[in-house]
Symmetry: D2
Subunit: 370 residues, 4 copies
């Protein structure tokens, strides 16, 4: 052990770290409120960094073909860690709320040029995750979110550089995961095998038939209750709509023709995994799907909690950076969904006893045991 | 001590309690998932009961005139307790999410006639709190939420009776609190004193002037950044709108003429309390306002978390009871606000150094010390 | 659908449930504090009920030989659910703490005969889990905890009946899980195979050698720092002790001779699972082990949080039921460990690069992939 | 607004911040686990910084005599903020636990010279708070905790300098608060008034009489239950001990003679505040006391949670830095109490209806109302 021992303060870089809370003045001039405000944002950035590292690692694992089974365990752990961090992030808002509006306003003028929207890492997370650029909610002024990342003299900031580099770094987590989901054996058939399309279509039809029966059973039961005619009619229309939507969705009919079959296979695979989730071979896919669902849910919860904190701190006024403030945050919380397929299939799942019979069970490891 | 000692199981009624989880069958036939589903709802009802008891007690305290100062401490404690319970309630959703969609569907058919909308206590809480009946979001079928509380043969259920009794029990918490806020001394003047209206108006004008200056200062700073003309124009319009809205709001111009002065005084009082919050005499009012704000925020967070859980469990399908499901929950979360004034004034607060000078400080206890 | 629709209030049994909060008086006479006290205990009992149901189900799964692989997924889900419930339970203490000592004392005299120690379900959980009767910390009076479950006239209470029934219901969760762990293939060898004992011993020796090296490496590094001779000596003694303890532990030398080999195999299996945790065949064992560790950790956290709440509410006075109060709770928190092996092996784990080479990797599924 | 707008990344110092996670190598060489380990410690240090700033501010407020009433509101807010931060800190352990023991060991050797015990800020918090140096639990090697803060070549580190400066910065929070508590009017009498000692003694005697009656009432009730003679005797002894301890404590008999009267007055003041907590004049003292109790409770919870995390990560092995590991943490959690008086008085509180009658109520503001 020639290595010289490193004390805690060198390993953690405590002194450098604790010298960064001065904002744009000398720290001694700041109120406790402002130092807290800076610290909470720094902690957010540190958490973001961890999320990014994990997300890139998980993405890279899924980008391999085939994905080695041991890697899946590691991927699931990474996804769970990202979720845990989001819970921490959401919890921090409670601390911000120990500051009053009036006391926040005391230093808010300094922040005219600064805004949470300028957090490059938050944008990077959305990009790596796979948020389509076209679905972004405008910030409330012209120019994309990339404009907000320029220096005030219009030059490229380090923040903008980082974001641009991420935009060029492909595939996204969403892309890589869906590619992997696409290869899932459905009723024992894989994409590479001849006749796969027909088998997948047969599964889809069998599944849609049972889904239709479930919706009709629900309608019948609801109609048995004392409803007005208008209510009954509304329920019937809604049931018809649910049946038609499920069909369109599972067959990928809402997608352009060239990707329709691929979209359909991915969605069928997700329904298949959710439906036969106890099969040994589906254990890891199920964990991945559950993990990503939890993660995206935690993201929505984080965004909504963020909106609640901002509303509490400054009400409905215009945000620093000129954004629409609370409304922008509530809108993005409900609109930004990356793993849309994971959420959509939940709408059309059916109970276990109604599922089409499993074909080729031996491929999914029924034989085993321990 | 003639009293016979009571063992824990009699005091807590453990055996009676543990016999209530059979749903509509024998408990032995139920899956763990269904028993959990029932238990979580029962726990929700128990928490609701505590919230209701506290809320009625707090309401009754504020309905007294004057409210004794010791009662305020107790009211604040009750409000904080209600908030703490809401955090517990929001945390329970994580448990529900340990159940998969497919496994929930296994027993969902039983619940055709049952729906969380039929929780009488949830409706009672909204009523006592003071949610206006006209602002309720329709459930998705004809007939009000009261219809959903009838027995299936159309007769009055115990749930409906309880809700009707609450509707008749006045004032609401909101009504009682605003009445008390209305009596707040503003710049040393109380409603009973001659000249109060003029003094309140003078405070409002002074306050609006400083608010206007703050908005204009913000606009100037934002404009100094490299923005397009269109952006600058948009910011100018928004600033003008903020100034005009603040004026209309603080003077109560959005209210019918006969209540306009009262509304204005209440809003000025809230601005006054938030602005001079360190004054000893305003200590309890501030705690009450902060407590109610936290409580309503926790309520919104609870509703949004509820929406997330439902979306995760069943996606976007029609809810049991025929409601619109997740959308209904997200809509009510954002739309239902009882203490609207508490949220609105946050939008127009200004920093301490810009506040109009305090008049009659001696009335607010500056003399004291300990 | 001949079935009559069931409204929410019948399914959840709302009215019966809400009639159980009167304690030993009429509910109208109770303070909000006492109703809260009763409700929180009732909620605790409801959570306990869910834990018990899950724990019995998990125990029953592990009592099968072999345990079907699909059952493991379900077992892990049950274990995670139990952990989630414990987090909820720990969170409730915050609510209890909204009550002051003085206000709790107002009704504490009523509870002379009642004590949380009389919660039959808490005892049942400990029993099913596998807490040895001999390790129980005495309550502070003569007679076992079973005595505390008698009616005051000495007859058998329903609580006592339930606890006695659990004591007769075998195996415990601990027993069943360890039996299953015992069958884990170690370096490819299973207990039924000839030569298993020798192979396990060889693994143990190889592992102990690498453990020894790790301890010595740590000692060398620590000694390189500027320590006094006395400190160096103390570290050397501690290192020697760690090496000897690891050996005694892994070879089961602390156990009676007749169970020594079985204990050693179980401990080696746990070390093996933790060490080669990415192997596909060990995926579920690892999840089970991690889940049980998290669960027991959550249990300790719950107990310590309980102690903190009681200390805050009543300080260090004698508990109702005559127990030693806070000290009893803190002692049980640290002393009650059921899955001792899971905790003990953590002490002797080594880093991946130092592990003995894996033998017979093909048995653990290295070949696969997806 | 001549001021140049500052973008988010300059205000938060994002780039400098994100360059500090390399430990003692290049960051690219680190595993995600090690980066997470570093980040979590950095976040801890940032929270510690906020706690320290608040604690010093609160201390400084209480060091004034008299403490202005408006300052109390601010002090309470600071105390609550410190508590909220501790909850955040305790929550972070869940993230650390996403790392396995084996994977932590992969980089643990690097940390031979580093240890959490070397966190200067943690020591500073204990010092400002008022932990007596004599009560510190030894780290497991010779030399005080200050030795652990030296550089490895024995020179003074920046960490040691900071800690030494804190040791010289007096009074502690404990000292300042108790000085303020000491001035509390008891039955209307303040220390400066003639006859104060007699009045305080009279209050103490009246209070002890009612405490004695309460203990005897409890004993009688407990004895009425079917206990063995030995149990009854044990309860009698314990009751006698409780009565005697309460007396010794409230009269300060456990303290050296020269501070005995002062200690007694402080303890009587705390009992007085807790007992007549609704009195308007005692509103802020009560909030301060409640806040400090919550804060210290949160500190104990944080320490115990820390012990649980360490036990989970590395079991019972020797800690980095050569400490006794988990046992050290559990011991400090239970032994380190700074506001001992706040905890001790909870043991001797009585219910409201038994309290001695309040004298000079007009001094406590009964006349008021709003």
């Amino acid at each position: 052990m020639a290595q010289k021992p490193t004390p805690y303060w060198d390993y953690i870089r405590v002194d450098a770290l604790l010298s960064l809370q001065a904002g744009i003045s000398a720290e001694a001039e700041l109120t406790n409120d402002e130092v807290m405000f800076i610290v909470v944002h720094q902690i957010d950035e540190l958490w973001f960094k961890l999320i990014l590292r994990e997300m890139v690692a998980v993405r890279t694992l899924f980008a391999r073909a085939p994905v080695p089974e041991q890697a899946l365990a590691s991927a699931v752990r990474g996804i769970r860690r990202m979720e845990t961090i989001l819970h921490q992030l959401a919890a921090h808002f409670a601390l911000m709320e120990t500051m009053t509006t009036r006391d926040y306003l005391a230093f808010r003028d300094k922040l005219t040029g600064a805004s949470g929207f300028q957090s490059a890492q938050m944008r990077e997370i959305e990009i790596v995750m796979g948020l389509p650029e076209l679905e972004r909610v405008p910030l409330g002024h012209e120019g994309s979110y990339l404009t907000a990342l320029k220096e005030h003299d219009g030059t490229e900031s380090p923040a903008l550089k980082r974001v641009r580099a991420r935009l060029a770094d492909r595939p996204t987590l969403r892309g890589a995961v869906l590619e992997w989901v696409h290869r899932t054996p459905i009723q024992g058939s894989t994409p590479a095998e001849p006749g796969d399309a027909a088998k997948v279509r047969a599964f889809a039809e069998a599944y849609l038939a049972t889904h239709r029966a479930a919706v009709e059973r629900g309608l019948e039961a609801a109609s048995a209750q004392s409803l007005t005619k208008a209510d009954t009619k509304r329920l019937e229309e809604r049931a018809a709509h649910e049946i038609a939507s499920a069909r369109a969705y599972l067959l990928g009919e809402d997608e352009p023709e060239e990707v329709c079959a691929r979209a359909s296979r991915i969605r069928c695979a997700l329904v298949f995994i959710e439906s036969y989730r106890e099969l040994p071979l589906l254990a890891w896919p199920r964990e991945v799907i559950d993990g990503l669902t939890s993660f995206e849910q935690a993201f929505v919860i984080f965004r909504q909690r963020h909106a609640r904190m901002v509303e509490r701190m400054i009400g409905r006024r215009t945000g620093t950076g000129g954004s629409a403030g609370v409304d922008y945050l509530d809108t993005t919380a409900l609109r930004y969904r990356v793993f849309r397929e994971l959420w959509a299939v939940r709408t059309i799942l059916v109970r276990a006893e109604d599922l089409p019979p499993l074909e080729n069970p031996e491929l999914y490891g029924f034989a085993g045991g321990s």
